[in-house]
Amino acid sequence: MTERNWHTHRDAKAARLNGASALLDGKFAKTEDVVKVLEALIKPGDKVVLEGDNQKQASFLSEALAKVDADKVHDLHMIMSSISRPEHLDIFDLGIATKMDFSYAGPQSTRVSQMIADKTMQVGDIHTYLELFGRLFIDLIPNVVLVAADKVDREGNLYTGFNTEETPTIVEAAAFHDGIVIVQANEIVDKVPRVDIPAGWVDVVIPADKPYQLEPLFTRDPQAISELQILMGMMAIRGIYEKHNVQTLNHGVGFNTSAIELLLPTYGEQLGLKGKICRNWELNPTPTLIPAIESGWVDSIHSFGGEVGMEKYIAARPDVFFVGKDGTMRSNRALGQVAGQYACDMFVGSTLQIDQWGNSSTVTHGRLSGFGGAPNMGSNPTGRRHSTAAWQSLKPADDPLAKGQKLVVQMVETFGSNKKPVFVDHLDAEEVRKEAKLANVPIMIYSEDTTHIVTEEGIAYLYKTDSMEERKAAIEAIAGVTPVGLRSNPEEVKKLRDKGIIALPEDLGVRRQDAKRSLLAAQTMDDLVEWSHGLYNPPAKFRSWS
């Protein structure tokens, strides 16, 4: 009986690296050899992680992957957090890749939808970030990972700094299961400011022709915050943050939550809420939180990723942010998602559609966007057992074994800026599921997890409803003149107000006339710079010409 070889993966990796040895000087390859290196190290059918997340893109490696010979490298199974760049999809047209597992496809959502319909791309699953990261260690273990670093030293130690994001998680999945780790480097240096990923995990380093692509994705200009958003922010602060005594939280991206951040030092201060709410955050470093930080509202912020322009400000506020000895922040998307899902009492987000039952989705006709982290943050982790006031405040009183619940808040205007109703009987996602033959309807946040909906009309406290009929009526009562809202009637609204299941601004002591832009702690990008004592440096596209 022949003995089984227990190290076939290791042997295969050694053979591949050996096959590329002519192109390598130690771990280092030449910039101009990048396509040949990929052709030598990637085999047909491989599972390949291409680092493309919200903010940071391994753009040099993705461009090179689109140039490999499809006779040599084909049928790849791509695993990506975010489909962001055109070549992420070009590789499917070129026959280099055939299958995709992903989380988010914001900028490419129309083309993704089309490619699935045309059968150019097979979809494994559309994951939440945590599902995707988790599966890298279970059944989507990569053969090759392609990642980006800011600085690499001669040994191959990586500095990913401010934008560390998910790079360590991706690299770990490959490095300890005989996958090949290929890194594009902005810069080769003698000494890295700190080691974010040790050289022992890295196989190949290629200096990039230009720095990796980086987008300021979470910056919102206060100038664009509307009075409607300010009104909704005031209602949320009174009717949710204050009512439930919320100390630990995550804000999604958007103007609604930016408005709240800018109302804390003004409206929140007037209400005497400083120190009582919003102390510990899981949040990308959004510039609109600067006034609240400077006013002493915020104890701590852990971040999924960086944000262009916030580097110096964060370096100067290590008591608040997670900053290394070298003075730069370390972000970590995997741990951030865990913290956002499990450690925070509240998630506040927004969406494009909410159905009559309270399910929400950003997937609309012809756009298969995926959801990134929202389904993690915006779900009730049922294994949680916190003693915090916010978590306990949602515990049903009549059950001796009852547990608390996470606050999952959706803030939407009843009609979008395109004048399309946000409240609909059926999500477009139901149709998209059929068209794209998906296993699941692409719902972003499920009704059962949604505890509050805020619109310009008021707040629906969905967690207080005791039947689906009552839940639907509560949604109708705040859904404005959308088809769903038109079903509401005055008697029903009165009943729901009396039971505290819905609250209108007057029920919360919120004056609509106070919802003015002058109530924002900062009204322009310049105001944010001033609040930061000149440390925040807005990206060019957010600067005025004055």
């Binding site: 205007e413 009843t414 009309e457 003149v481 006339q513």
Partner: protein
């Protein structure tokens, strides 16, 4: 550009003149005068939304049955913004009553 007119049978008399909002992109202004009947005169830059206007007004007057003359100059406000301005006008009436 479209002109729309509506009338309602309401009970709560408007006692004073009120002005809220501005004519700016995505916004509107409302001039509200005391009157014996409830009339709404709308000039809007977005044509073809008569049904939506009626729905917004129905819903507003069901909750707040104000009797007065409403003059509305609209520059592409969403139904949410229209409702905000209407309810702000309602609040302004109650302010120094």
């Amino acid at each position: 550009m479209e002109k729309l007119n509506f009338t309602y049978q309401n009970s709560e008399a408007v006692k004073k003149f009120v002005h809220v909002g501005v004519v700016a992109s995505g916004d509107l202004e409302i001039l509200l005068y005391p009157a014996d009947e409830t009339t709404i005169e709308i000039v809007t830059g977005s044509d073809g939304f008569k049904e939506v206007w009626k729905n917004v007004l129905d819903r507003f007057f069901t909750r707040y049955p104000l009797k007065g003359k409403f003059v509305i100059h609209d520059f592409g406000a969403t139904p949410g913004v229209v409702n905000l301005r209407l309810t702000q006008a309602m609040e302004a009436l109650n302010d120094e009553k």
